[in-house]
Subunit: 132 residues, 2 copies
DNA sequence: TTTAATGTACATGTACAGTATACAAACGAG
DNA sequence: CTCGTTTGTATACTGTACATGTACATTAAA
């Protein structure tokens, strides 16, 4: 009997709002395909129990994702992953902003003592994973 | 007469607190060496004007960086960049957390329409920049 | 038809972000 | 030496966002 990896983890002591951590984590699974159209997400109350937050906090997160076009929410049936066409190409400024946030994130963990080689490894691993 | 690139930019409409954006942006410059020990940062009132926030917001950001050991704040003289030894090696869990946040950040911009090739390029560029 | 499982709505408490305003310290001009 | 100006500091106030508590609406199944 294997304890399978939890669908998602959040860090309540991280200073980042819980509902946004949930949004970010679920969206990552949606983008990388771990969650497919037709899949059902756990009911808000169940996921809330798992994460240690109130179910309305999860409901808020689901609503954000629904507004982004990822989920269809229906009472009694739950939260279902939708088909979602490719997004419109982003404004070029968006890419610059990404680069900046990326640098800032790396600086933050570097300042916190994560080694440069490990950071480099994570960056390259992720890049390689994206190019297939 | 050249308009030199501003020391830092923030996005007031981004939903991320202004003071934290300032902290992140300045810290990035500290980590990558654009700000060296002995350098002076702009006075809180001046930087606040440039960014369009209240000077106490900048002062808060400076204080966070001072508590992290980056800055020495003194009245009348201003905010001076300190010498700062290498941080203690981080807990291994820290690296895992970094990987997660990285994936989430990439998913976010990917969902917003930034192309995979561009993301890959930014990741690799940053990785290469770190290994020297 | 009833019941139970689900998402929704809204009110409330609390913490945080940003601001306004007054203050304290330190350096320079004279 | 004194005074004024430039700097960061302290504190109170306001609005908003986050998380929760509780009641409700909807819908599928028994």
């Amino acid at each position: 009997m294997s304890t399978q990896p939890p669908l998602l983890q959040i860090d309540l002591s991280a200073g980042i709002p819980a509902y946004r951590q949930i949004v970010d984590a679920v969206r990552a699974h949606l983008v990388n395909g771990a969650l497919q159209p037709g899949d059902l997400l756990p009911p808000v109350r169940q996921l809330a129990m798992d994460l240690g937050v109130h179910f309305n906090t999860v409901a808020d997160a689901y609503r954000v994702l629904a507004e982004e076009g990822w989920l269809d929410l229906k009472r009694r049936r739950g939260a279902m992953v939708l088909e979602r066409g490719a997004p419109p190409p982003a404004d070029p400024a968006r890419g610059e902003l990404f680069a900046r946030r990326l640098r800032e994130l790396v600086a933050e963990v570097q300042a916190a003592g994560v080694s440069a080689p490990q950071i480099i490894r994570e960056l390259r691993t992720l890049a390689t994973g994206l190019e297939k």
